[in-house]
């Protein structure tokens, strides 16, 4: 379970105090699929990074499985991330000089798995996302959609319980966007919690719940299409 309790984030930018999050509260149970929507600058990405233990709040608490993330030091937060959290980014953030399979191996290397075990797991994941014939291609040799699929495979490498996706379809054509959302639904059905920040209303609708952020606060919550379908 992910929980935010009165979380605020303020920072100074060119002498002005900017409030990115303002007393935000949210509870995301295990297995949930939540879309976070809102205008640019509303604090969506800030909230996502905070849930991932990457950005400490100015006030309030963020809890993952009842553990207050920011009571841990940075190295223990890194440990927590590699065990429980999978990130996927709008710009994929693949390491440009590594091949697809090596990119997927990174999280496995970080948890200390041996090379042959890393390679076996990375091959399985790339096959799952349909890239079995592109394993040794570098990101620059892959299409945008293929790059995002490598990022999805990397996201699943350590079998995380929580998936945090920041605009995962932002750089993709509609067809590939559809495939990515399908994939996120698939991993959600496996029992993983998915939190997705998006500008795309159609992508947001695929979640179980949609949280709207504005001015750093969660201003509304409504069920998504998946929830409707289930109902």
């Amino acid at each position: 379970m992910l929980r935010m309790e009165n979380v605020s984030k303020t920072y100074r930018h060119r002498g002005q105090l900017v409030t990115a999050l303002n007393e935000a509260n949210a509870e995301i149970p295990d297995g949930d699929f939540v879309s976070i929507v809102g205008p640019s600058g509303s604090g969506k990405s800030t909230l996502l990074l905070m849930l991932g233990g990457m950005l400490s709040p100015s006030g309030g608490r963020v809890l993952l499985d009842d553990q207050s993330i920011y009571d841990l030091d940075s190295n223990r937060r890194a440990q927590l991330r590699k065990q429980k959290v999978g990130f996927v980014f709008q710009t994929f953030n693949l390491v440009p000089y590594l091949s697809a399979i090596e990119n997927v191996q990174i999280p496995l290397y970080l948890v200390g798995r041996d090379v042959s075990s890393q390679q076996a797991r990375a091959k399985d994941l790339l096959t799952r996302v349909g890239l079995s014939d592109r394993m040794h291609h570098k990101p620059c040799e892959l299409s945008v959609g293929q790059q995002q699929r490598v990022a999805l495979a990397r996201m699943l490498a350590n079998d995380p319980a929580v998936i945090l996706a920041d605009e995962p379809t932002g750089n993709l054509d509609p067809e590939t966007s559809q495939q990515v959302i399908d994939f996120l639904e698939e991993v959600n059905r496996e029992g993983r919690t998915v939190v997705m920040v998006t500008h795309d209303p159609r992508a947001a609708e695929r979640a179980k719940r949609i949280l709207r952020l504005d001015g750093g606060a969660i201003v509304s919550e409504k069920p998504g299409r998946t929830a409707h379908a289930a109902a």
Binding site: T91, I106, E167
Partner: protein
């Protein structure tokens, strides 16, 4: 995936950016290795040259004047033989060998020669042994007399100025003496009423030594009735030690004697060696500043360029220690490659250019590889530490454009 895979892939992906820093460190190490290598063999050549010149420091009576270096012991004034013992037992560094002399004019078959008493080395050893100190318990400083100990060839006296053993009834005769008196080895010659066996005929030297007959010092002291005195002590001193004030130190030890050296020869060689040493030091300073600045600059740029990648690694669970290790391992690889490359190129340059620049044959020195790699690695690590630390402290959020 391993740490070194991650680092090596990045190096080869962006090798052109690394090239400038690598060249800076490579050239610096190359120059240091070349100069050190040539200097070493130049110093060795100087030591051998000094050795071939024989003694390079003379201890004389205070009133003596130095008209002829090789005839400095033929002026009549004397100093106590005890001075030899004092020198032998002192802790002065750089005294490779001592050769005390007492000379007196003699006539043989109507021809004038010089009878010179010398003290064989075995008697110094006996004198110094009881105290466990002195020049014979010291390691040989400059290598000038390497191979002298244990040499049985008495003819080496002409060049080495020191002899290992000499019995009371033995003499060595100079080339002119042998020619004029028709003497050869194992002949017998009568000097001042005593009969001596010719142990060796010394090779021609072109100096007054050719007209000398060398006998044991104590025998000459008896024949001259002068008691335990000598005219001069010839000292083979290390070139470097002479420049570091050996003459002054001997003067302090023996205040009633005059100490002189072949300053022109020693000074010229020492100046060249000092210049090479200073040049080497200067290049070391330049490489530290230029090479270090170049590496640090490159590393800072590299950290800036890779901030998104660092942020991604951190998002995937990398801690700051791993990020630090990534950059320091890269610096280590850069340092080792620069050190090995610099050693190889520097050695080739030294071997090729040594004979032309310094007039000496230069051979590769494996020890310099350690120096080259040590300096190179230390420089690369120190210059990269702060950029690496900056990378490790990056705020991962700030590295994503999405924020």
């Amino acid at each position: 995936m391993k740490l070194h895979t991650l680092v090596l892939r990045e190096i080869f992906e962006r090798k052109s950016q690394l090239l400038t820093s690598f060249l800076a460190i490579l050239l610096g190490i190359t120059v240091i290795v070349s100069i050190k290598n040539i200097t070493y063999y130049s110093e060795k050549a100087v030591a051998l040259e000094m050795d071939s010149l024989g003694a390079n420091v003379l201890v004389l009576p205070k009133s003596a004047t130095l008209q002829d270096y090789y005839a400095a012991d033929m002026q009549g004034e004397t100093i106590p033989e005890e001075y030899v013992t004092q020198l032998a037992m002192s802790d002065l560094a750089g005294l490779d060998n001592l050769s005390p002399k007492l000379s007196m004019p003699i006539e043989l078959q109507g021809k004038s020669f010089t009878l010179t008493g010398i003290l064989p080395k075995s008697e110094f050893q006996a004198k110094a042994a009881w105290s466990g100190a002195g020049i014979f318990s010291r390691p040989v400083g400059c290598g000038a007399s390497v191979g002298m100990m244990g040499s049985e060839d008495k003819k080496t006296l002409a060049r080495k100025r020191v002899i290992e053993t000499l019995e009371d009834k033995e003499v060595l005769v100079g080339a002119d003496v042998a020619a004029k008196l028709g003497l050869k080895e194992a002949d017998t010659v009568d000097v001042l009423g005593r009969s001596f066996s010719v142990t060796a005929v010394l090779p021609q030297t072109g100096t007054v030594d050719d007209a000398r007959i060398f006998a044991h010092l104590h025998v000459v002291q008896d024949l001259s009735n002068k008691g335990p005195v000598i005219n001069a002590i010839e000292v083979i001193g290390c070139c470097q030690e002479i420049s570091n004030g050996l003459v002054e130190k001997i003067n302090r030890l023996l205040p009633d004697a005059k100490v002189v050296t072949i300053t022109q020869i020693a000074d010229a060689q020492i100046k060249i060696n000092r210049m090479m040493s200073n040049l080497s030091l200067m290049f070391l300073v330049i490489i530290v500043f230029v090479g270090g600045a170049s590496i640090a600059n490159y590393m800072y740029a590299n950290v800036f360029e890779r901030r998104r990648e660092i942020g991604t690694l951190m998002a995937l669970g990398a801690n700051s220690g791993l990020v630090l290790r990534i950059f320091l391992l890269k610096a280590l690889i850069l340092g080792v490659a620069g050190g090995i490359g610099g050693y190889v190129i520097g050695t080739i340059l030294a071997v090729v250019l040594g004979p032309r620049l310094a007039g000496v044959i230069v051979l590769p020195m494996p020890m310099l590889a350690l120096l080259a790699i040590g300096v190179s690695v230390a420089l690369a690590l120190v210059a990269s530490y702060f950029p690496a630390r900056r990378a490790a402290r990056l705020d991962p959020c700030a590295t994503f454009q999405e924020v």
